[in-house]
């Protein structure tokens, strides 16, 4: 009967558990670094208006050399200017917002969709499960980026559309993980007992299955933000993601790529920003997997 006790008392202690996980994350050098990167990036996104040294949209006259070339880093423009004479540092800071908004939004939709499909298919099984999982298999065999580009090219890209397109491509992984876990949980006695006691499907799903799936959702949700950030950057680099003049790290490189031989900072700084943010979420996600899944302890 201990399972009843654990799922009943697990609730009020969630705050304490979260604190413990964060403490563990900070104790490991890699995930501590990742966490700091994420906090700094979120800070930059939230306080962007106060942090930007210049107007990110202003094509300033001083921002180009006498022959009309972008300025290198240093002086008035700390990271240099782009080909239209706009301050790169300001555009990068505002770009943090774009990346994080799309990262969180697209990934949120992907989690809802993926977890929803996974739980439904895993819990109900039968023909509903079969159809859902065959569809997931089908999506797995789709060349992901090709699908995203086609979708983005069909619809006029806006922030929401880009986020939706990315979510459409990224939910599959989550669905498979959650499906496998739900499938094995549903066989457990404590779920069978609940069913025998007459608990409704919704109650079993939310009160008894979901708490056990939370670790996986947190782990794959964190790793998923990294994938989302990279996919947004790639779509914007190809010109089918976030549209200029709204800055995104990917479209800054897209706009300036013809200048990369003479003005490499226009690729280097936004490129470094993308790698750093994706790295932050990868490091934290990987550590979370270690911390939340005790069966993996000692293998890494």
């Amino acid at each position: 009967m201990s399972v009843f006790a654990s799922s009943a008392t697990g609730e009020p202690r969630r705050g304490a558990r979260t604190a413990r996980v964060i403490r563990e994350l900070l104790m490991r050098p890699r995930s501590a670094f990742g966490l700091i990167v994420i906090v700094l990036m979120v800070g930059a996104a939230v306080f962007a208006p106060w942090l930007m040294p210049h107007d990110p949209f202003e094509q300033s006259f001083d921002g180009l050399s006498l022959v009309g070339a972008p300025l290198p880093p240093g002086g008035e423009f700390p990271l240099g200017t782009d080909l239209l004479g706009r301050d790169l540092a300001s555009r990068l800071i505002l770009g943090t917002r774009t990346s994080l908004i799309i990262g969180v939004l697209a990934n949120g939709i992907a989690i809802l969709l993926g977890a929803g499909v996974g739980i439904t298919a895993g819990y109900f099984g039968g023909w509903i499960g079969a159809i859902l999982m065959r569809f997931t298999d089908l999506m797995m065999a789709f060349p992901a980026l090709l699908l995203a580009i086609v979708l983005a090219a069909i619809f006029q890209p806006s922030l929401l559309i880009v986020a939706l397109v990315i979510a459409m491509v990224n939910w599959v992984q989550m669905a498979r993980v959650i499906y496998t876990e739900t499938r094995s949980l549903a066989q457990h006695d404590f779920i069978q007992v609940q069913r025998a006691l007459g608990a409704g499907h919704l109650r079993i799903l939310f009160a008894h299955l979901l708490p056990h799936l939370l670790s996986s959702i947190v782990v794959f949700g964190t790793l998923g933000i990294s994938t989302t950030v990279l996919l947004e950057a790639t779509l914007s680099f190809l010109g089918v993601g976030v549209q200029p003049p709204m800055p995104s790290w990917g479209n800054i490189i897209f706009e300036n790529q013809t200048y990369f031989t003479t003005a490499p900072w226009l690729v280097f700084f936004p490129g470094a920003a993308i790698v750093l943010l994706a790295l932050g979420f990868n490091l934290v996600g990987d550590a979370l997997r270690d911390i939340l899944d005790p069966t993996l302890k000692g293998r890494h």
């Binding site: 789709f142 086609v150 950057a233």
Partner: protein
């Protein structure tokens, strides 16, 4: 095994048919009118209507889809709307370049990934291990276009070691292959590291040590071969990664493969070509997965085929 094989083949065929349907629906929804594109701006409404009739674009959706599917099963992918050629010819002309790039990228990622994984496992929890694992995290966090442009800047523009793009000689293939292999190297190094650690902890290694075999011999003859096998079995799964990667990498390096063909077709909404490339890529991915499924139990009989 036989029944499993047949079932997986059937499943794969169904998945591919499903993919043609989903892609067809998506491209059916594209707001652009292919007939107007073909006819050009100055064409009269009548001409456009004639083209629509010729292409069968006025037929109901399922009639169009059925026609596409039945000709596809006979090997006919239709004609490009914008280039005067069969889609299958366009793809066949571009496929060798993409396959060459793919093989080069697999060689690159295995060479880097396996070496890094082996060294990291042997130096477990020492500075070298930490450094290599940070490298592997960076490599899975870097978008391919950034890596590609940086490699071009350093090795083609500054150092002048490799050409800045194009196709033809061995020197041309190096930078695109490294760009594509970079991401995979990160994944393989992590998998190889944990596979090595698993094998190092097994009884037969201790037996070999007890027999008095030298450390180098144990690692080279016993540990590495056992640790590599499960990794090699996964190469098939990588094909999906490559199929996504080549769209970006081929356009950064001007590599004349199907990735660039796809990208050009998407920009100009050349629907039959987009369909064709998607189906070819999906077929490659499905075959890769099948290969992985069939190779894994051959390598490790403990993996049951059910």
């Amino acid at each position: 095994m036989q029944a499993y094989l047949v079932r997986r083949l059937l499943e794969s065929a169904l998945i591919l048919i499903g993919i043609t349907l989903v892609t067809f629906i998506l491209l059916y929804l594209v707001p652009a009118d292919p007939a107007r594109q073909i006819a050009g701006r100055s064409a009269t409404a009548e001409t456009v209507q004639n083209i629509r009739d010729q292409l069968g674009l006025n037929d109901p959706f399922f009639v169009q889809y059925w026609r596409y599917l039945t000709s596809l099963l006979q090997g006919d992918m239709g004609r490009s709307y914008l280039q005067r050629a069969e889609v299958s010819e366009l793809i066949a002309a571009r496929l060798p370049a993409s396959l060459l790039l793919m093989v080069a990228a697999i060689v690159t990622e295995l060479a880097f990934g396996l070496t890094i994984g082996i060294v990291a496992a042997l130096r477990r929890n020492r500075p070298a291990d930490h450094g290599l694992m940070i490298f592997s995290f960076v490599s899975i966090s870097a978008p391919q276009f950034v890596i590609g442009i940086l490699l071009l800047y350093v090795f083609a523009v500054k150092l002048n070691w490799f050409p800045i793009g194009g196709y033809g000689t061995f020197a041309h293939v190096v930078l695109p292959a490294v760009t594509l292999g970079f991401l995979g190297a990160g994944w393989y190094s992590r998998m190889m590291r944990s596979s090595m650690i698993d094998v190092l902890g097994q009884d037969f290694v201790r037996t070999a040590q007890a027999k008095g075999l030298g450390k180098a011999r144990i690692i080279l003859r016993h540990v590495i071969p056992n640790a590599i096998l499960p990794i090699i079995a996964m190469i098939g799964i990588d094909i999906g990664l490559f199929m996504s990667g080549i769209v970006v990498v081929e356009s950064v390096f001007g590599w004349p493969g199907i990735g660039q063909l796809a990208w050009q077709a998407i920009q100009r909404i050349d629907i039959p070509v987009i369909m064709g490339v998607t189906i070819v890529s999906a077929t490659a991915i499905v075959l890769g997965n099948l290969l992985a499924d069939f190779v894994a139990p051959l390598i490790d009989p403990r993996i049951k085929t059910k």
